[in-house]
């Protein structure tokens, strides 16, 4: 099977689905680049090249470059979706959501509910998340927790190329608004991706490592950090299980609880927020539903409660690191040894 990057996997998903279904359109800033102006058409294909080549295959009617107006992009996508199109709208950086959150939160997310189930809003919002790109506080956040808090939105954050393709196709075929978070640092991560189209259901966690001693739940880029720690500790005989929920809404609580029941110890690694983020949300769920499984406190490894710093050393310190995750795992294991020797 061919290895493809996350960038290629998403591009392939869009291309295959657009070929299958003429109702799918792409709309956003520079999703082709140069269209309609004096510049070279398809100069960009999206700021990270994810939609490159699609305008050549599907034309300007279906790959639509917009002015720099996020509220217009999201409003147009939500409206088009209710008329029967399946727009894939791009919000270049999730940080820009401030100017268009009404279209997402109060419009797209509410249509099905407020029209008594008679309206569908099959739109996908693709957006970039993540620190580590030296892009400063307004282009580096991982705001998926904001969207997860809104009923009516489905939230997807692939950590690998296989998942990226299958989740994107699922997102396009879904009849509700889906927010698809792409981490800037992961676009070149490659793994085996089938050429055929396939879908991965939402709300089904992926176990990237199996283990008995500690469970780590991690999202998006943090999955790779968790895997790195699991592999390092495996060489010392510590068996770490890593769960990638793949979607935060719906959340596969059952798999998290199943794993914690086995290990009794939980570390959550989350780039979204120190307060009211995904880590706190999952910790609360496990404390409520699985308290009797726990043999120690739940550890949350998150970003600090600050804006993402621009200074490189501070930005590096901001991101949950393998060292911090490893320390959290070791703390849980140390408390086990202390108790056993007491």
């Amino acid at each position: 099977m061919a290895k493809k990057t996350i960038r290629e996997a998403i591009n392939e998903a869009l291309r295959q689905e657009m070929a299958r279904d003429p109702d799918i359109i792409i709309i956003g800033e520079d999703v082709s680049g140069g269209a309609g102006g004096s510049g070279e058409e398809d100069a960009y294909g999206g700021v990270m090249g994810v939609t490159k080549g699609l305008i050549g295959e599907f034309g300007r009617e279906r790959v639509i470059d917009t002015p720099i107006s996020e509220s217009a992009i999201m409003g147009a996508a939500a409206g088009a979706a209710t008329t029967g199109l399946r727009p894939v709208a791009e919000l270049m950086f999730v940080d820009f959501v401030g100017v268009c959150f009404d279209q997402i939160m109060n419009q797209a997310a509410k249509f099905r509910y407020m029209f008594g189930g008679k309206a569908r809003t099959p739109m996908v919002l693709r957006t970039m998340i993540g620190a580590g790109f030296r892009a400063a506080a307004q282009h580096s956040q991982s705001l998926y927790h904001l969207f997860t808090a809104v009923p009516g939105l489905k939230c997807v954050m692939p950590s690998n190329a296989y998942d990226a393709k299958g989740l994107m196709i699922q997102a396009i075929r879904d009849d509700d608004p889906v927010i698809f978070f792409e981490h800037k640092a992961l676009y070149d991560i490659a793994d085996e991706v089938p050429d055929e189209a396939y879908t991965i259901p939402f709300g089904e966690a992926n176990f990237t490592r199996e283990g008995d001693d500690v469970t780590i739940v991690a999202f998006s880029r943090m999955v790779h950090i968790a895997n790195e720690v699991a592999d390092k500790l495996a060489r010392e005989g510590v068996s770490v299980e890593v769960l990638d929920p793949r979607t935060s809404s719906p959340l596969d609580s059952d798999s998290i609880l199943e794993s914690v029941e086995k290990t009794g110890r939980l570390v959550i690694v989350d780039e979204s927020a120190a307060r009211c983020g995904l880590a706190g949300d999952i910790a609360g769920m496990v404390a409520q539903e699985g308290f009797e499984f726990l043999r120690g406190p739940i550890r949350q490894v998150t970003v600090p409660h600050t804006p993402v710093p621009f200074a490189p050393t501070l930005e590096d310190a901001y991101i949950p690191s393998p060292a911090k995750v490893e320390a959290a795992v070791r703390q849980l294991l140390d408390s086990k040894r202390r108790r056993m020797s007491a």
């Binding site: 099977m1 296989y162 089904e204 798999s255």
Partner: protein, 372 residues
């Protein structure tokens, strides 16, 4: 060379390393060819490693819990009659480890990855290993399976002949179009595959539904089939575990799929997360659910087998081997009762519906004997 390295085997294309679970023999043990020496586990499945030679285990190198790359040194065996001293063994181990390159070992990698054929516009994917002039062997998997089900058999059997394992239509990486979804349609696809590869005469080995496909292909083109090996085959009786089929088609999640797959094995611990994930990856492909539903409706209508193919076994000139697990929960070994006298029937204890996986060494030996 009187000393022989026992190495981590390569089971299937994706295997890169294996972990030693436990040794069944101690240092100094006398062993025969085919004796199970130890249990090795991959992320997908565990299996026994058998002795390739008769002799004495003079050094156990890899201890339980250790993970080694494919081709890595598990133990040193002195061939019968040899009595090396400790220094010779030390030197042998040192030489091996000094020259061993993980991933650079091509042993057991006789299968070079999936190949693809276009037959009448339909894509057929297959694995192949081995070569030479002997009559080729073609392996046909069962319902919902694929060529990788033969991971413990393909390269083992390729020692003495070319071996091919195809993905039937609707399965693996082959086309998901299954036509009317009958045993006859699959048998035509199998015969088309043989024709495309220019294989005029082959041995056929089929598992479960693949057994019925092999039988039907034999009925249609008897001159092309030198012998038949049927593992827990369909086509010999009416009963089939309809609950398994429906469960397999319906399951979309790991939690739903696990109890379904557990029915395949006597030792249900063999069902690993990776095995489940591989099957889910297949089931998520566009067209698979429809293909499985069509096949199930056409081949097992109302939970019974539609194809009655016992008559194919009447010809005493064609050797037939039937292998069945006594604990098979999908198709009953009782279906092998009352077959013609020239049919060899082997029912294996403590084995479920997947004898080629669960008792791979035994099945490989039976197949080698059968093929001659």
């Amino acid at each position: 060379m009187s000393l022989q390295a026992l190495k981590v085997p390569k089971w299937g294309l994706s295997m890169e390393e294996g972990a030693v679970v436990e040794w069944h023999v101690a240092e100094g043990a006398e062993v025969g060819v085919g004796d199970e020496l130890l249990e090795v586990e991959t992320s997908k499945i565990a299996n026994a490693v058998e002795s390739p030679v008769a002799g004495r285990v003079v050094r156990i190198v890899a201890q339980p819990g250790e993970t080694l790359a494919v081709g890595g040194l598990l133990a040193v065996i002195a061939q019968a009659g040899a009595s090396p001293d400790a220094a010779e063994i030390d030197a042998f181990v040192a030489d091996f480890q000094a020259s061993f390159v993980p991933g650079g070992d091509d042993e057991g990698a006789g299968s070079s990855g999936p190949q693809t054929l276009e037959i009448d516009g339909a894509r057929i994917s297959y694995l192949t290993a081995g070569g030479g002039e002997a009559t080729p062997l073609v392996l046909v998997h069962g319902f919902g399976g694929d060529a990788n089900n033969w991971l413990f058999n393909l390269t083992e059997l390729a020692v003495s002949r070319p071996v091919f394992a195809l993905d039937l239509p609707g399965h693996g990486a082959s086309t998901k179009a299954v036509g009317e979804g009958s045993v006859a349609a699959l048998a035509e696809a199998l015969l088309g595959f043989l024709a495309a590869l220019k294989l005029p005469r082959v041995h056929l080995a089929g598992h479960s539904l693949g057994g019925a496909v092999a039988l039907e292909a034999t009925r249609r083109a008897p001159e092309r089939v030198a012998s038949l090996a049927l593992l827990a085959p369909a086509g010999l009786g009416e009963r089939i575990n309809g609950g398994y089929l429906q469960g397999f088609i319906a399951a979309q999640s790991r939690r739903d799929m696990k109890p379904v797959l557990a029915q395949l094995f006597c030792d249900q611990a063999l069902v690993s997360r990776d095995m489940i994930e591989d099957i889910l990856k297949y089931k998520r492909l566009d067209g698979v659910t429809e293909a499985l539903e069509t096949l199930s409706a056409g081949i097992f209508p109302a939970g019974r087998q539609a194809a009655a193919l016992r008559g194919v076994l009447e010809d005493p000139a064609r050797p037939v081997l039937v292998i069945w697990g006594r604990e098979d929960a999908i198709a009953s070994p009782a279906d092998a009762d009352g077959l013609p006298a020239h049919v060899r029937v082997e029912v294996l204890d403590s084995v479920g519906h997947m004898p080629h996986m669960e008792a791979a060494g035994q099945v490989n030996r039976l197949l080698q004997e059968h093929l001659g």
